[in-house]
Amino acid sequence: MTVAAPNYELVQQDGLETSLLEVSMGPHHPSTHGVFRMDVKLDGETVVDLKPVFGYLHRNHEKLAENMSYLASMPFTDRLDYFNSMTNNWAYALAAEQLVEIEIPERAEYLRVIMSELTRLVNHVSLVGFFVNDLGALGTPLLYAFREREKILDLFEQASGARMMCNYFRFGGLRCDVPDGWLDRTREVVDRFPKFLDEYEKLLCENEIILSRTQGVGNLSKELAISAGITGPMLRASGVNYDIRKVDNYGIYERFKFRVPYSEGDVGDCYDRFMVRMLEMRESIGILRQALDGIENGPIMGNAGKVFKPQKSEAYGRVEAPKGELGFYLVADGTTQPYRYRVRPPSFINLTVLQDMCIGQQVADAVIILGSIDIVLGEVDR
């Protein structure tokens, strides 16, 4: 099914010719979230055409991974979506674990879920901060969001030694166990988090300016979202109930009770995308509480063997990363290096509808639409 891109027609007065203003927003622009460029054609303030240009951060990630051992590219996955190294690790580990049969210990599974949900909090909290920053709130909400993010990054640092590039997962488990008292500290952070969410919701979600700036802006219909392969909160904001945690039940997600918030209508505007993320954070807190209650002592590493050398086979592992479906496709040829290594990046695929959402909107809206997609250029360009 194809959905036609909306056309914008210039209003031509008799005898007056209107010419368009072409602005190249980026690659260094304060709100393109990295080295991303939008070639925008403007009629006054209205966006007539928009072409996303990227590739400034291309690092040859996939080809590099095909020329080194399986495990050696684990640290590189951190650098894909550098906000969410834990879920990147998990997606890669899932794919690799399908190539060989490895039993993953209980404690490792619990910790994976805890890390993954903490990552979701980190991602969403920074997203809503940046989003309101793009709306022009001069960093105040952003800095409060970063205060919460900082606490979780501290937890990551205590567990893995790094705040953002965690490199914490291994095929068959985790690199090391969490230090003593880590779970208690996590529980403290998790218990305090709803307070922040309440405050944030009270101040922002019903703010008149935010409502009028975001509602009806950057609409993404259900049909277009599905046919464009959009995943994650963006898809749910368009009114589709689809969450890989529910669909695939990877890890031990079937043990936890949680709900998937999605939009009631199929407007799918910036406000929906903002709110779905706010609500998802509350669900993540629920999962974290259950996981922290259920976790028991035990080994954290399964028997993976010294050398990871799978038989000729192929595997696709995917997780519900905070930004959408993150998948790794691996083809093994019986050596210690993958024959083909392919990433399905959610940021990149979600970005494809940018043009459709922006045409006909104001230039100020284009910025917040881009912000609401939630891209990280490390993942878009790879």
Partner: protein
């Protein structure tokens, strides 16, 4: 005679050139500190006064920051883009500072050293002070256009266009809300307006005065490009708007011009609505007048800083709609309300009548504001979401 005149002019203008730039320097520090506190940060706290050449310093909560910023600005490279109009690129920052500085002369600042006969030497003692103020502030728009056009940068151009549209639109409610006061006092002279509010007869305590003050303050925020109306320099959209291509001291001049304009327009708001120099103790100590005046200006500036740390930005169409569909009708209605209130009060001096008029005007203005709000409010409301199990 000529020497005396020169002396008078210097006595009236030089203090303005000392007080306001000093206040500007302090305000940048206060703004950075206050914003930092609003944003859960500490803000500048390192730069202080060096005590010895070998180290050791007095930190003073980072009060040295404005000086350090100024020195930094002076030493930065002056970059003019290729293809820019060099002359206009050079003239624009100067032109943006001149009107802001010039309008300071119309504020009724009673300097204690200008007593007696010379008291009339406010830098300009003009009958049409208020209207002069608006005329000269309007010239700021030209500087903005100049900067936006001369930079030959598309962001600058967009910023310039936004700035002009915004300044022209918001000037109307601004002037119309000032008209109310001019009408009641019967004079455009800033001194007469100040005299009419002596004691506690500030116009802001009248219903129409309060409405006019609120409209004026909103218009002032838009005129000086402050949040939530900072579209011409919206960082997340068009980098820095019309001064994108400015660096070094030219940028500093824009910055200075913008802050001086803030002081000037706050000063006018204080003059028109907040009783100018009126305040406790003015009768016995006349120099308290200038103290109260500047204090009120600082309070208004503080509110501006507070708003900057709090509110997100509007969109262009919403901004224009707000000016034309909400502020303009309300300020026109306010003129009528004020006129009737004043007329009835003038004809009938009983307390009961004035109370009735007072309450009636509150009701009318409130109902009008509510009605306009209901008509114009964007059809937005918080939504509910469903959950999949």
């Amino acid at each position: 005679m000529t020497l005396d005149l020169i002396k008078d002019i210097l006595l009236a203008t030089v203090p303005l050139l000392i007080i306001f730039p000093t206040m500007f320097a302090l305000t940048t520090w206060v703004e950075r500190k206050a914003l930092a506190r609003i944003q859960n940060r500490i803000g500048p706290n390192k730069v202080g006064v060096p005590l010895t050449p070998y180290g050791g310093k007095l930190s003073l909560f980072g009060l040295g920051q404005p000086a350090a910023d100024g020195i930094k600005m002076l030493f930065k490279e002056n970059i003019v883009p290729t293809g820019a109009d060099r002359l206009f690129h050079f003239l624009a920052p100067i032109l943006s500072l001149i009107p802001s500085m010039l309008v300071l002369c119309f504020l009724p600042l009673d300097f204690p050293w200008l007593n007696g006969e010379q008291n009339s030497v406010k830098a300009f003692m003009l009958d049409g002070a208020v209207i002069f103020f608006f005329a000269i502030t309007g010239l700021n728009t030209l500087a903005v256009f100049m900067a936006g056009w001369a930079s030959r940068n598309k962001y600058s151009l967009l910023g310039g266009m936004r700035a002009i549209a915004q300044m022209v639109s918001y000037e109307i409610p601004l002037v119309l809300s000032a008209v109310v006061v001019v009408m009641i006092v019967g004079s455009l002279n800033a001194d007469n307006i100040a005299k009419a509010q002596e004691g506690w007869n500030w116009f802001v305590f009248q219903p129409w005065g309060l409405a006019a003050f609120v409209i004026f303050f909103i218009g002032a925020l838009a005129e000086t490009n402050r949040s939530p109306f900072d579209l011409p320099e919206a960082e997340s959209e068009i980098i820095a708007g019309y001064f994108t291509e400015y660096s070094g001291f030219k940028f500093a001049l824009f910055f200075l011009g913008e802050y001086i304009a803030m002081f000037a327009i706050s000063g006018l708001a204080v003059t028109l609505f907040l009783g100018a120099g009126a305040g406790p103790g003015v009768e016995s100590l006349s120099w308290l007048k200038i103290f109260w005046f500047l204090t009120k200006v600082c309070i208004l500036i503080g509110v501006m800083i507070w708003l900057r740390g709090t509110l997100p930005r509007l969109r262009v169409d919403q901004l224009m709609g707000f000016a034309w569909k909400f502020l303009l009708p309300l300020s026109i209605l306010n003129i009528f309300v004020a006129g009737f209130a004043w007329h009835i009060k003038d004809a009938n001096k009983e307390t009961a009548t004035s109370v009735v008029v007072w309450i009636a005007s509150i009701i009318i203005l409130y109902a009008a504001a509510k009605g306009l709000d209901r008509v114009n409010r964007a059809k937005v409301k918080p939504r509910t979401y469903q959950y999949g199990e």
